[in-house]
Structure formats: C-alpha cells, structure tokens
C-alpha cells in the first residue's frame, strides 16, 4: 500500500503556506525577532530572539470570532490544516468519520499554562478562566482542527520532544495502513511563549548573541551555541495513493514509513554521546524498507546549532549512512527555527524537489560532528528523503519520504 501526501499547509516565521515556505528555504535568510522580555523571566545577556509567526496574516484563514477562544498553537494548527485541505483540493464535509487527526507537539500549551498558573498564584483559583483551561490540554490543537474540518475519525496527540512530529507520522501511517482512516491530517505544532523561551535559554538550548549581537542557529558549526527558538505548524494530508488517484488529486510526496528508538543510557536532559540503540534502530528501519545507505538521496535533520544535539545526530547519520559519500544534509531549522513543523515542511518540500539555499550560520565545521550541511548548490530531484530527529532524554526518530507527481 502506498501512502501519499496530497496536501500541505505551513504556518511558520516568514511563511503562510507551502509556496512561501519553499521561498524561505530557498532564500535561507532567517529573520528572528525580539521576544517579549518584559515579564522579567529572562537572564541578562541570554538569547533575545525567536522565529515567531506573523499573526496579522491569520485573518486570511481564521475569522477573529473563531480564533478568539484558541491558543496560538490551536490557531496555527487550524490554519495549517485548512491550507492542507485546500492544497489537496478537498471539500470540508460537516461530519466526516473517515478523517483522522494526529498532532505532535514538543511543549504543549505554553502560553495558556503560564496564564492559568499566574491566575492561580496571583489572583486565586476562582479567577481561572474556563476558556483558557480548555486550551491548556496538549490535544487542544488537534481538537480544534477536528472541529474546523468536521473530522470525526481518531483524534490523537503525541509528544516525544523533538521526535514528536515523527511519532505523529508513524501513528498516522498506521491509521491508513490498517484501514481505520481514509484521510489523516497529521502534523506538528508548537508555540513559543516568553516563559518557555526564557526556560530554554536557562537550559542553554538557545543560540546566544555573538560579538555583534547576532543570534543564529549554526548546525554542525564549531561556533554553534544553540537553536533559534521558534513556533508554528505544518500539517499534511495523508491518503492512500489509490484514493488520491481516484479523486483526481495530486501526489505531492510519498510517506514510506516512520520509526523510532530509544537509548535508555542517554542522560535525562541530554542527548548522549553515542547513538547506540538509535543507530541500530535506524539501520534496521532502512533494511526493512529495502534500502541500502546509498539509496538515500537527501537527509533532512533536526540539527539546529546546539552542539551536543548536532553531534549526536551527526554520529547517528554517519554511523548508519557511512562516513563517506553522504547525500546532501539539510538542516532547515537554521532557516526557520526549531519546531517540528519546520522538519515536516522541509522534508515534504525536499521530496518534491524544492530548492534549498545554503545552511545559514555554517562556516566553520565542527570536527566532532563531521558533517558539512547543504551548501546551496543545485541538487538533482531525490527519490528518497530521510527525515531524522533526535531528542534529549534518549529518543530518536526517522521517516522515509519519496518523490511525488509534482
């Protein structure tokens, strides 16, 4: 059974829609903005920038009356889902029991959680807003998507830090292959609140200002100091390929499968130094899909400029695909910031043959990582794209995508 990606929606910094996402990946010119530091959560001298969504453009997709009770994450997910539907040329049915929704999230409802806790602590528990509480659950975006498109199939939210988007793809793939659903809106969504930004900065996860005050994610670069914090969503419509053909739709890309593994020896808040079981898992996954390392034409990875994370992912890629002759390695989070939607959008666009510019911030190779990411030179259209992601705590995940019709 072939699983197709027939529609794509993207909401991220600098891009509303897949065509704009294609342009920002091609331009490779990240434009982070200042995050609100007025609450005093941030430490002196730390990260100040993030890749934030321009919410002024939301009105094209979501009316204010519908958006007013949604968290930022729910709004991103709903807009991206509506885009994916439109891209797929599908009409929204009011009661659609065959469409499922699967969302991955790394951090859940950051804004709402903070607001509720401030209400509880500073104004007393009776002051908590019921509408806010409703949006505080991690599955609120998936639920809002279901409401927006009338999807009455399974509605699932998975969370495995940076691997969440791949875990979501895995669940969606299983729903289609088992026949439980005919269509799945699957994606990843996250929002970046000032408190979350400050916490990530205190964990030394975010890119630090350089001597010129510039904050840049530098994947696989010796000067890497962290990610660019980011928010947004990407959602794809998955269908069985026969169904896409029968309704005259276009196959933008194909999903061959997804998987993950865990290293129980990895530190709880770190990545670990050796890929260990994660490399064994990825190797077995490729074998299961009848691929040798030489068959992978492109890698889209989660490296974003945090040395420990990038080195682990580099070792994983090198150990499985070989030390020499690696295919082009794309690190899209350097362009659009670190959220799962960026990985999904970039891997689908890569499979569709999109152009990617040189990796922002990369100039001085990190010898320990040992990977030189894509330098912007033209690449032939790929047959297979390997998406990888590594998370602190021990998880790593991967998905295999292929070229579509367009």
């Amino acid at each position: 059974m072939k699983i197709s990606i027939s529609g794509l929606g993207v909401v991220t910094s600098g891009a509303w829609g897949w065509d704009e996402a294609e342009r920002i990946f091609s331009a490779a010119d990240p434009k982070p903005v200042n995050i609100d530091r007025s609450a005093g959560y941030h430490r002196e001298g730390g990260a100040r920038k993030a890749m934030l969504v321009d919410s002024a453009r939301m009105g094209d997709w979501l009316k204010p009356m519908a958006a007013r009770r949604m968290s930022p994450a729910s709004r991103f997910a709903v807009c991206a889902s509506l885009m994916a539907y439109r891209d797929a040329g599908l009409e929204i049915l009011p009661y659609d029991g065959t469409t499922a929704v699967v969302m991955g999230t790394t951090y859940g409802a950051a804004f709402v959680t903070e607001k509720i806790l401030r209400q509880v602590f500073l104004e007393g528990p009776e002051s908590v807003s019921p509408a806010l509480f409703t949006e505080s659950v991690a599955n609120a975006p998936a639920a809002q998507v279901a409401l927006a498109v009338g999807a009455r199939g399974a509605n699932n939210t998975v969370t495995q830090r940076q691997v969440s988007v791949i875990a979501a793809l895995k669940q969606a793939d299983a729903l289609l292959r088992s026949g439980v659903a005919d269509r799945v809106l699957v994606g990843a969504v996250d929002e970046m609140s000032p408190l979350l930004h400050a916490i990530l900065d205190r964990f030394a996860a975010l890119a630090q200002p350089d001597d010129d005050g510039v904050e840049t994610g530098r994947p696989f670069d010796a000067r890497g100091s962290g990610w660019l914090g980011a928010e947004g969503a990407a959602v794809v419509l998955l269908e069985r390929e026969d169904d896409v053909r029968n309704r005259g739709g276009l196959v933008r890309a194909r999903l061959f499968g997804a998987g993950s593994a865990f290293d129980p020896g990895a530190p709880r808040s770190g990545w670990g130094k050796s890929p260990g079981p994660r490399a064994e898992g990825l190797g077995a996954f490729l074998v299961d899909h009848g691929l040798s390392p030489g068959n992978v034409d492109r890698v889209v990875c989660s490296a974003g400029g945090l040395p420990e994370a990038d080195r682990l992912e580099a070792k994983l890629i090198r150990e499985v695909l070989g030390e020499r002759g690696l295919p082009p390695v794309l690190a899209p989070m350097a362009t659009a910031g670190s959220h799962g939607g960026v990985l999904l959008a970039a891997s689908v666009l890569a499979a569709a043959g999109a152009t990617f510019g040189p990796t922002p911030g990369f100039a001085v190779p990190d010898r320990e990582a040992g990977i030189v990411p894509h330098d912007g030179r033209p690449m032939p259209g790929p047959e297979t794209v390997l998406l990888t992601a590594c998370a602190p705590g021990g998880s790593a995940g991967w998905a295999l995508l292929g070229r579509g019709d367009v």
């Binding site: 806790l117 602590f121 019921p130 659950v137 639920a143 998975v158 830090r161 865990f262 998880s395």
Partner: protein, 402 residues
C-alpha cells in the same frame, strides 16, 4: 494475531499495587478524601483521590528513583510491578513504551512558576523542570527497564492512557515490538484542579457516577501499566496471559471543546470501532467499564451511546464506573481502568461503583452498586471507554482467554 496482557501494575488512591487497587474496588469504598499535596482553599471542592505514602519497602524503592516527578514515579513503580507479574526482567531493542498522560511533571513545574512569581519560597531551579515534559513518565519507564524500541508519549487529555494502549496493540500486531509496556500516569496538580473547579464540573463531595444527583467529577492521581505481547510469544516463554486485548477504537465528536455530543455519537463510534477491531458486536459485551465521570453531561451522553450500542440489553449489562472510587486520573484513567478490567475478568466479577446514592433510573443502565457482582462463567468480554476534552474518544475491548 492475538495480543495478550501478561502483566499489570497500578498506583492509585488505594495504594501502591494491583492488590491494593483490587481490594479497594471490591470493597465499594472510595479513595477520595482531602488531599495534602497542595492547599485546596478557595476551590469549589476540597477533595481528590491522592496516592498516599507507600509502605516501607516501596518507599525504599522510590528513594532510589532520584530527580523524577511524582507522575514519573507512579509510572515506574507500576511498570516494575507489571514486568514482575509478566515474568520479564527488562527491555531491549524489541521492547517499546507507550505512555499516556495529561500533565506529567506539571506539579513540579508549578513549583518553578510559583517561585518565579514570588508566591513560593526558594529560587526557581531548573531541576524542577527536568521532568516537566509530557513524555517524562514514558521516558522514565524506558530508562528504568532498559527499553530500546519506540518510546512514545500520548497526550489526549482523559483518553491518553487508552490511546497509548491502542498504539501499543498496533505495535505488537505489526511486529514493530515484541513487548510493549503501555499505560498512563498523572499526578494531582493545581493546573487541572483549579481548571476543573473553574469549569464548575467538580462535585463538592466525592463524585457519584451515574447517580441521579451527580454534581461532577473528583480528580485523582496514579498510574496503570500493562505488558502486551503476542499470545504465541507468551505461550512460548511459559507466561500466563491474564487477558486478551482484543480491540481498540477511537473517534472524535468534532462537536464542542468540552461538552460531549448529547446523543453520544462519538462515544458510540469509538466503541463500534473497538468491537469491529476485535471481530465482535454489541451482543458480545458482557460488562462495561464506563468512563463515568459523574458530570451530568458525560453520564447522560455515555449512557445514551451505550443504549444505542447494546439496544434492549442495555439495562441488563452490568456496568461499573471506577472514578467513584479512584477519582478521575485523567491521562492515566484509561490505563488504570484497563488494569481494573483485567483483574475483574480474572475474578469473574464486576466491581461496585462507589457512592451511596441510587442510580439514575433515567439512564437505563445496570449500575453495579455496593458489592461485587459475580458474572456467569460464560462471560468473557468487557468494553472500557474513555472520553476526553476536545471530543477525543477511545474504547478498548478486553477478553478472558478461554
């Protein structure tokens, strides 16, 4: 392929272990009482099913679990018990962990935020956040047992635990893993306690599911973990299967963010999907473990769905609602209630629903009250349901192996 449950573990308001859970449920008593984990002043209710202190042996075990959140600890202890019951020693490359939860280490995160806003003493130390993330309990279990297969967190509010079990069932069936540790864990926290209070969906007293004068839910905490594997593998290694996890189904109301569909459309669809997955029909159901939160809307909607599923049999199929005894353990509910269903199947009985008020006769259900009800020896199939915020529904079919 038949997938069987070979081990179960539980932490609940009744204590640390399946035996404690079983004794509590059999007694018809409730574990809902005044909690000690935080100040409940100013809330509509002052009750919850809090997990009490463990006995000395369990405390020694917990003392070795450093820097874990309360939810992590519940998950790890339940997983260890499940593995021992299954006769397994640990993980490996073919073992996966599928864990549901709605707030994970939120209680510890609250301490961090409380310190930031100056209402709690001490500096906001980052270690308070190390286990905050929603995948924390599953990761803690995987690390503890040495699992190297897929580890996935599920966070669909009150349906999370059941969804984790559904994904684990699929992973065993597909051959992705040989052994799955699946379940859920959640701990009491101010976020959910205050939130449900704000929604006015809590009962000021202990919740009384499916009763005429029900006023809402009571929150709880705990964990349920189950070991899943293929029947062939269990038999080959000499394990004794406790039950078969025969089917799983899910749906979404797409109706309202908090209110269930009034006629239970989504709940019915999830149950029908679970039965179809198991190759069964409504006529095959011998007992029901209901979601039964004790809110007016849930119990009305759920009983409506059950009437549509069971037809004329609805008033005769025994039904139990453990939340009267365990409180609503949110992301762990589906898992803890699956454990309860397995042990009830083992005993051939339906546990009573805690609470003293008479059943709501308008709901046309056979609510088991006061004492366990023995089932005929031919009874073998339970359905267990969980419905979440956002209209996410899940149902599991558990069968006795004959």
């Amino acid at each position: 392929m038949k997938v069987v449950i070979t081990g179960v573990g539980a932490v609940s308001g009744f204590g640390w272990g399946v035996e404690e859970l079983c004794r509590g449920l059999e007694s018809g008593a409730t574990s809902i009482r005044t909690p000690s984990v935080f100040d409940v002043e100013g809330q509509r209710t002052t009750l919850a099913a809090e997990v009490g202190p463990p006995d000395a042996d369990a405390q020694m075990e917990i003392d070795h679990l450093r820097n874990l959140s309360r939810a992590d600890i519940f998950a790890v202890i339940a997983a260890r018990e499940a593995l021992v019951r299954a006769g397994l020693e640990g993980g490996g490359p073919r073992t996966g962990v599928f864990c549901g939860g709605s707030t994970a280490g939120m209680a510890e995160c609250e301490d961090f935020v409380g310190r930031i806003v100056g209402v709690r003493p001490g500096k906001p130390m980052l270690k308070l956040l190390a286990s905050q993330q929603l995948n924390g309990p599953g990761d803690a279990v995987a690390r503890d047992i040495g699992a190297c297969g897929p580890v996935v967190g599920f966070s669909s509010a009150c349906a999370s635990g059941a969804m984790a079990l559904g994904a684990a069932l699929q992973a065993v069936r597909s051959g992705e893993v040989d052994v799955a540790l699946a379940g859920g864990a959640d701990s009491l926290c101010l976020l959910t306690y205050s939130g449900f209070n704000a929604l006015r969906s809590v009962d000021p007293g202990a919740c009384q599911p499916f009763r005429k004068d029900r006023q809402g839910l009571s929150l709880g905490e705990g964990a349920g973990m189950l070991v899943l594997e293929s029947l062939d593998q269990a038999v080959a290694r000499g394990a004794e299967p406790l039950a078969e996890l025969a089917g799983y189904g899910a749906s979404c109301d797409a109706h309202h963010m908090t209110a269930p569909h009034p006629e239970g459309d989504g709940a019915l669809a999830a149950m029908q999907a679970a039965l179809k997955d198991a190759g069964l029909e409504g006529i095959d159901i011998d007992a029901v473990n209901a979601h039964g939160t004790g809110t007016a809307h849930n119990d009305q909607s759920e009983s409506c769905a059950l009437r549509r599923l069971l037809g004329d049999r609805s008033p005769e199929v025994p039904l139990t609602a453990p939340k009267g005894a365990l409180g609503h353990v949110l992301g762990a509910a589906g898992a803890l209630e699956a454990v309860a269903s397995v042990v009830a199947l083992e005993r051939g009985a339906v546990f009573p629903t805690a609470g003293s008020a008479p059943a709501d006769s308008d709901l046309h259900i056979d609510l088991v009250l006061e004492n366990p009800r023995q089932l005929p020896p031919t009874s073998q199939t339970w359905i267990s349901t969980n419905f979440a915020f956002g209209g996410a529904n899940a149902a599991l079919v558990v069968r006795r192996l004959v």
